[in-house]
């Protein structure tokens, strides 16, 4: 099984637009959206849901006001500032259960937590596994892990060799869950100072978890000096810059139409570099 994850560090560099294009360009594959906080890939792929599942994860404390003797021990012991006025807040509670164990009146119960939903859908590009984390929930890393796992299982069932995963922004818990153990990371960056700074950080995370990476520069013509800096940095790190995609409002127009960019236009100036990126990813996956 080969797994490519598309990451960026900085948000809004074009991960989902690139994955949407890969969906249309690649042969048989399973797609997954690992940005479970703010999933957008479905907006380009028009999925038909086949399965919906609940995602139960972790626990949250609940204080029984009748049994509570208002001793305040729980509030004092909680390291997450989740208990105030003898009430436990759902938002903030990390589910460690310490309060329930120490409550002398046994007034605190740990309740299973419905943290979101996940879906298996069919699209005209192949199966899509995606999810929706509950509002203000913890445990996005665990849901990401589950989405990846289900994408792999779906692929195995169907005799498919490749999964393409749209990743979250950042470098924390959800990114680590999307990345660890993947065959390849494709980093979509943009040539702004913040884009470059964030790319360097996410490439360090790839190195930390020993996942090979390659870089695509999106909107490369917004700042050609910045693009040169990216190329120099990557050359120094032994990372291939496999594609430079120009800024073009057609990418947004395609999003408004709800289709991948390669279905919206055949403008070679734009589609050529995106197809080139997929070719490079695909070749690296074949060699992996």
């Amino acid at each position: 099984m080969k797994e490519v994850v598309v990451l960026s560090g900085k948000g809004g560099t074009g991960k989902t637009s690139v994955v949407g294009a890969f969906a249309a360009l690649a042969g048989r594959k399973v797609l997954s959206d690992c940005d479970v906080d703010a999933a957008d890939l479905h907006l380009l792929l028009s999925p038909t849901p086949l399965e919906e599942h609940e995602f139960w994860s972790g626990q949250v404390a609940e204080i029984d006001a009748e049994k509570c003797t208002r001793c305040g021990l729980c509030e004092e012991a909680c390291r997450f500032d989740a208990i105030h006025d003898f009430t436990a807040a759902r938002v903030g509670c990390e589910g460690c259960g310490l309060c329930a164990r120490i409550c002398p009146a046994e007034a605190i119960r740990m309740k299973e937590n419905l943290a979101g939903h996940w879906f298996v859908s069919e699209t005209r590009f192949g199966p899509l596994v995606h999810a929706k984390l509950g509002i203000a929930q913890e445990n996005s890393g665990k849901l990401v892990h589950l989405v990846r796992q289900k994408a792999k299982e779906t692929a195995e069932h169907a005799g498919i060799e490749v999964t393409i995963n749209d990743g979250p922004p950042g470098i924390g818990c959800a990114v680590i869950s999307s990345l660890s153990g993947a065959s390849l990371a494709c980093i979509v960056t943009e040539p702004s100072i913040s884009g470059i700074h964030d790319m360097e950080r996410v490439l360090s995370v790839c190195r930390h978890f020993s996942v090979p990476a390659m870089v695509c520069v999106n909107k490369f013509d917004i700042n050609e000096e910045g693009t040169r800096q990216i190329e120099e940095y990557c050359a120094g790190e032994g990372i291939d810059v496999v594609s430079k995609i120009p800024f073009d409002t057609k990418v947004t127009e395609a999003q408004v139409q709800g289709v991948p960019i390669v279905e919206y236009t055949d403008d070679e100036r734009l589609v050529g570099p995106i197809a080139g990126a997929w070719k490079a990813v695909s070749a690296r996956l074949d060699a992996a």
């Binding site: 903030g92 259960g97 950042g170 990114v175």
Partner: protein, 280 residues
């Protein structure tokens, strides 16, 4: 007053709004800017702050004194995060999974567990030409952002305005960053992705009971559905920023908006006035 800035979708312009608002208000009141996007902090690029101090952020993780340990397994049983395992006479601690709740040390029947600090990042304090500027930086390979955000927020100003720049998304790091603020600005785009993620951000604000309004950035591409959604849901649109190549080009080179386009100063002062009216 504490004003936080969130978005749902990444790359909509949170940092642009946070740093421009700080620059506009400077000199009129004490301004504190807290960059709570600790996974990818970028405000420093536009603040050119003089670094005054760096402090480590640690969480307490268990340290097991094997000479006292009786391998009873209690620490493993009370750990909700599977961060400690007992294999025969050896105890293994997985620091990356530990939330630092302290249950293991508290319940160890023989007092074999003490807590030791484990560094997961740093907080930097600086001065940006009169603006008090703080950011948090998560160490590469560490998963847990909220403890760093909590430490950054200790620097919330007692006077004037504190501006908090949050990370994208809607999960725990965003909640940690925005909770306790008086008002949250949601920065979005007039695109289907912008709208989808704005809806999620609005649901988060409603769950937290936080007053909020929207800024629509890059108006001119995309469609009108984001604006219609705000109107239908009664979410005030505090400001719109047009798609302007001058902003994209200067901003990509690290030039603060108010330096590149000084006419925006008045617009950000109006934004603050508008927020004040909404909070009162």
């Amino acid at each position: 007053m504490i004003v936080s800035i969130a978005s749902g979708k990444g790359g909509t312009g949170k940092t642009l709004v946070a740093t421009s608002l700080a620059h506009a208000l400077k000199g009129r009141m004490p301004v504190t800017l807290l960059d709570c996007d600790v996974e990818e902090p970028n405000d420093h690029i536009y603040m050119h702050a003089r670094l005054l101090r760096t402090e480590p952020v640690t969480i307490p993780v268990p340290f097991v004194d094997e000479s006292k340990c009786i391998s009873c397994g209690m620490c493993h049983d009370v750990c909700a995060f599977n961060a400690i395992a007992v294999l025969g006479s050896a105890v293994l601690v997985f620091k990356e999974l530990c939330h630092g709740c302290g249950a293991c040390s508290r319940f160890c029947p023989v007092g074999a567990i003490t807590e030791v600090p484990h560094e997961i990042g740093v907080v930097e304090e600086g001065d940006a030409d009169g603006i008090r500027f703080i950011d948090g930086v998560l160490t590469i390979g560490q998963p847990m952002a909220p403890p760093i955000i909590r430490q950054v927020k200790q620097y919330t100003g007692t006077e004037g305005v504190t501006i908090i720049d949050a990370s994208p998304g809607t999960s725990c790091p965003v909640v940690e960053a925005v909770k306790g603020s008086d008002f949250c600005i949601l920065v979005t785009e007039p695109t289907p992705f912008g709208l989808n993620d704005l809806r999620l951000a609005v649901e988060t604000m409603r769950e937290l009971g936080l007053p909020h309004g929207a800024i629509i950035n890059r108006v001119g591409v995309g469609d009108t559905r984001t604006e219609e959604y705000c109107r239908d849901e009664g979410i005030p649109v505090l400001m719109t920023i047009p798609l302007d190549e001058r902003i994209a080009r200067s901003y990509s080179r690290g030039v603060p908006l108010l330096e590149a386009l000084p006419e925006y100063r008045e617009r950000f002062l109006d934004l603050y006035k508008r927020i004040r009216e909404l909070v009162v």
